[in-house]
Symmetry: C2
Subunit: 728 residues, 2 copies
């Protein structure tokens, strides 16, 4: 262990301190009048009730999976002894980040609304810096957790040769991100079901049937709807990116250890630490960027967007300049090439965000064209949104593939070591995610601004306040679109990096296999087929091997099955919500006249318990499929499975997110006055599109990110089963 390592926990603690600072500043802000406080506390109570129940279920699942891992580690002995514990700490840290982010977001909404009654800049600052709490807590806890484990393994791994020790530590730590992954699955799927059940319930009965406006206090589902925004876009998005962040760092570290193993222990260690230090740099860059986000009273929506991007640009520039210095100072061989890979990653993230914006914003042709189709009815809206979403997959895929080519060849430049190229791909994912603290701040900002708008509406604040919160909310819608693109792109690169380190690990272990044992993930595993020629055959992940093709077909199918299941879950949960809202309107007589308050809590409970029930089957599929395929078709089957799931899932996720986003904004475009405006038949047609798009863009699409990553990490962790027990 060397001195510069300590920068990592140090940066983590600084990030947490700044998070605390932003939190305290926000809490000191004025909370508004009594109505505002009451509404905010309803939302907060709902959010906490959801989290309590969610974490209760997740805790039980973690216990079960933890026991399974303990069984693999201590009884079957195909996994290192650390993973059951590290699994728990990663899951805990991710859950803690979600909890802190949610507490901040739900406390910030009324304060944002109140601040907006003073000035636009004040409102923006409260909302954005509260969002930054989530970003900083995520990167801080992730870096802290892995620093801790790095420290522990460094003490306990007992290998005299430094190079072997680094290899053992990094290949052990690679398995640790399964905790973050599993937590992310539940946060995304559960959150996605909750938020859309509440949204559909509030819209279908409240807006359409009862004819009351959005965010009206008389709508029983309105609090659940506001809770849902936080649940999906704060807790869900946070856990998703927590996982990408930790997965990409661990994958890059493990590939670095393999790629640089012949270049001396110092260089190898530097290659392992480089991704961590780039993230350290990213933490400081993000904090600096956060302070650049401010605005003036006369800002147009374009100016507002610029003030957010100013913060992101500052952070990116700092990472650009700083990372070349870091790589140079650490004397990494071919540091310019590797720096190029980092730049490629940063570039892909921005580019995918931009294409998402182009294909989903009502400012551009594709979404306008969908709105124009509304004149011939709902069917043509659906068809054209569907076509638009499918066509929108072209550019992100070209960007990611081009990025792969560039980062691979830049990092492998002048060497015939292919692992070096894979290290380049992994470190480009790290580059993309290095400024996560500020990227996530813009994501978490969205629901805070949205809730602030809801709070202002329900508390009947003045028109100038509503205008300001509307401006802040509109900005949130734009950042939500780019954020989704970013989440998908980072998930694809992270899954690629994890896949690469998975097979490189197995290949490397095979090359060094001693007799009947190979060493993977920090543990010696008995080989099923002992002769070397058999081994090479069993690990032939060639496309001609039918097991690989079978895996690909199954992987591709699973992404569709998983999406179908989550979409249906939303349908069922929404139906329950619709029933409940109708029941309240029917049975509680004074609701419409405003004399009696609806039972908000009951709607929250319904959405919560539906989310809990529905998230289990998809979770079982994600966890069980790599294990079963591994046991039947071995490593080649698993590789095919991951390749198929990645290639289909990435494209399917973009399609689902972008068609959903474009339907949403086609409706907004008409509400802004186009094609007959609000209340016209065209508007009704786009409402159908928006409702169809809701589970696409907020449940199935984002959940696919996790499916891809979770399947990969489960494969990493259970590789020993496939090695020792596979049927074919």
């Amino acid at each position: 262990m060397i001195g510069i390592f300590w920068f990592v926990p140090l940066a983590a603690i600084i990030a947490l301190c700044f998070a605390r600072y932003f939190f305290i500043t926000m809490k000191k802000a004025h909370e508004g009048n009594a109505t505002m406080i009451a509404i905010a506390s309803s939302v907060r109570r709902g959010a906490m009730a959801y989290l309590k129940q969610q974490y209760g279920v997740v805790f039980l699942v973690f216990l079960a999976v933890g026991l399974m891992l303990a069984f693999l580690s201590y009884v079957v002995k195909i996994q290192n002894k650390w993973v059951p514990l590290a699994f728990m700490t990663a899951g805990f840290c991710s859950a803690l980040a979600g909890f802190l982010g949610m507490r901040t977001a739900t406390a910030a909404s009324s304060r944002t609304a109140y601040a907006a009654s003073k000035s636009l800049d004040a409102g923006l600052k409260v909302a954005f810096r509260s969002g930054a709490v989530m970003g900083l807590v995520v990167v801080g806890l992730a870096l802290l957790d892995y620093s801790f484990w790095y420290f522990v393994l460094n003490m306990f791994v007992d290998l005299s040769k430094p190079s072997a020790k680094i290899l053992a530590i990094t290949s052990t730590m690679l398995t640790f991100s399964i905790g973050a992954s599993l937590q992310a699955l539940f946060a995304r799927v559960g959150g996605g079901i909750f938020t859309k059940a509440a949204d559909v319930g509030a819209d279908l009965v409240g807006k359409v049937e009862a004819g009351i406006p959005e965010d009206d206090v008389r709508n029983p589902a309105t609090i659940a709807d506001n809770v849902g925004d936080n649940v999906g876009d704060v807790a869900g998005m946070g856990a998703d990116l927590y996982e990408s962040y930790s997965g990409s760092i661990l994958a890059a570290a493990s590939l670095g250890a393999v790629a640089f193993r012949h270049m001396g222990a110092a260089t190898q260690l530097h290659a392992v630490l480089a991704p961590l230090l780039i993230c350290v740099l990213g933490v400081f860059a993000s904090i600096a960027g956060i302070f650049f986000v401010k605005t003036t009273e006369k800002s147009s929506s374009f100016d507002l967007l610029c003030s957010l991007s100013r913060g992101m640009k500052v952070s990116s520039v700092i990472v650009c300049v700083g990372s070349i210095l870091i790589l140079k100072m650490m004397s990494i061989p071919n540091f310019l090439g590797i720096w190029g890979s980092v730049m490629v990653g940063l570039g892909i993230g921005i580019f995918i965000g931009e294409t998402t914006e182009y294909f989903t914003s009502q400012a551009h042709r594709p979404t306008k064209r969908i709105a124009e189709c509304a004149n011939t009815g709902a069917a043509t809206v659906i068809i054209s949104g569907f076509g638009n979403g499918m066509i929108s997959t072209l550019l992100p895929v070209l960007a990611v593939t081009l990025g792969m080519v560039c980062s691979y060849h830049l990092a492998a430049y002048g060497s015939d070591n292919t692992t070096m190229g894979l290290y380049g791909i992994a470190i480009s994912a790290v580059g993309m995610l290095s400024t996560l603290a500020i990227t996530l701040a813009t994501d978490a900002y969205g629901p805070i601004a949205d809730n602030a708008g809801g709070n202002a509406e329900m508390s009947k604040l003045g028109a100038h306040v509503r205008a300001r919160t509307d401006a802040l909310d509109a900005l949130g819608n734009t950042t939500a679109a780019t954020g989704k693109g970013f989440a998908i792109g980072s998930a694809a690169l992270t899954a690629l990096a994890l896949m690469a380190s998975y097979v490189e690990g197995v290949k490397f272990a095979l090359l060094n296999a001693g007799g009947k044992f190979i060493s993977v993930n920090g543990v010696d595993i008995a080989l099923k087929k002992a002769t070397m020629s058999n081994i090479l055959h069993a690990y032939d992940v060639n496309l001609l091997n039918p097991n690989v093709l079978i895996g690909m077909l199954i992987g591709s199918m699973l992404t569709f099955l998983f999406s179908g299941l989550t979409v249906n879950s939303v349908g069922r949960a929404a139906a329950k919500m619709v029933e409940e809202v109708r029941r309240q309107f029917r049975e509680i007589k004074g609701i419409m006249s405003g004399e009696e308050a609806p039972d908000y809590a009951r709607c929250v409970t319904i959405a919560t318990s539906a989310a809990q029930r529905e998230m289990l089957l998809p979770a079982v599929i994600a966890i069980a499929s790599p294990i079963i395929v591994g046991l039947v078709f071995g490593i080649p089957g698993v590789m095919g499975l991951l390749g198929g799931a990645l290639s289909s899932g990435f494209v399917l996720a973009i399609f689902l997110s972008n068609s959903g986003g474009s339907w949403d904004n086609a409706k907004k475009y008409i509400e802004e006055g186009a094609c007959g405006g609000k209340g016209s038949n065209a508007h009704k047609a786009t409402v159908v599109g928006d409702t169809v798009g809701d589970p696409f863009k907020d449940t199935a699409g984002p959940s696919l990110n996790i499916l891809i990553k979770l399947m990969t990490i489960v494969s990493v962790v259970t590789v020993g089963l496939a090695v020792s027990y596979s049927l074919f």
Copy 2:
């Protein structure tokens, strides 16, 4: 060449003779009254006008692609000199089959209606045997074309060693199916756009806006709609399966030549001829089966279905029993295992058809559930149909993968020759398609029965006739669903077989590479990288090779892009049709009172020219993408591309077909009286679902079958480019 080869052209000629016999018998049947004749001749004129224009455009494309192939063969010299000619003959035969099938189908509809006025059995027989014309013509022409080329190559290929000669002939012939593939693309995409533009136009304006019933003579688009049924389900389906049929035979023959090359020339030749002889057996089995299709007057819909399945069962049993005898008599090694593979193929075809029926028929839960969602509006119908379609991908994928495992291991039993296993996969595709003549008869039967119903309606025949044609039509809807499943399943297996023979061919050629040349597809190609270690690196189709992963991502994306483009094409073409129908209702005053006839021909022209214009871009993508990826990323990139396109495209096609089918039948279920029946709000909601599903199930879904196969065969034909000129 040996004596038993002559069975192949003989069977082809017998198939054509029976086709002629059924055609003449049908033509002799009574055509009905003057109105019936007039309507039938309108449809026939429309269909022929479409075919004329379609074949005109396709002829130009064939000239262009033929010139490109000639350039590759005679100038760049990376392709054999036969392929430009064989490309033309295969395209011609497939087009001729489409023409004959369409002529028969359009002549049969009024005769079916008239026969149905006599008895149900008479109606069934006229319709079914007319459908059989298409089936028999397709298999007859395909077998004849390839017999001819086998004969020619046998004369001209000048190699003294028999084993080498068979290898050269089969690897040359593998390239010949590109003609059938390209023709299929245009038939499917063009036909799919035509039929849905006409259908949507007829429905949206005629049924919804003007409120006149389906197939009403006053609807200007009704003739185009009837033409469209033939264009999509006769010509399109026929060309699709023509391609699968020839592709699977040629792939099995080429893999057989490689797998059995060390077992003596006689055994090798038998392995090559076995797939052909199984198809010969299938021809006779199908003809026998056709005569078993008959019914009685009192038949329920279930009895009707049984009478069709009786014919298919008879054929299948004959193939089961006969093929084991053939394989035994030809003394193929491990003949029992290979027979098992044939059986697996037959089984998969039936199973996928059954699951399609389950997920799309209103007799079963999934579609009923979608209909029940109609009570809460169009959005919930769309969402649940979407979920249903996605979940329905599970069973077909499991069936195909299980089938692959079984056919691979059965054929490779007791041998460590992996090519033997791939031969097993290819011959299972042959098994599935061996009874194509009768399978296709049931597909082509559908539009004939549908048109007969339309004819009876428009000619105002009596209620008992309508009841009979309705029964025949309902049967057609069921067979359409199973037929679609069969087409997708056979496309997947054929593409797999083509892919396998592609890489086996390259691998085999590399093993036998002499110095700087390798011999692929019957021609010597200069190697770009001359040393053997470089060669092995360049052909490493391992999933760790980033070029493979890049190819997979691009392949997966292309299936979505292609679907998006075709779906949008339907949208645009339908909008034109809607405009035209509205214009006619507005400008031709006497239409609604029945005093003036609408301008049917104009609607046909609009659908035709829209189809021509819109089919070009998807075609360019399908042809260009494997060439470009091959030039940039080499063989590994192409293999990844094909793997990604196959795994995504197969799943996507099932999803599109099944969700479309279930929406269609959910509407029918409500029209039969469920959930409020015709005219209710629930019915309106399912009409939206049906309209959305139309381009899914009849344009994008079926076109994906061709995309997968065409991309594979283009890769086969242009392999020399990737070998000699690839960038990475």
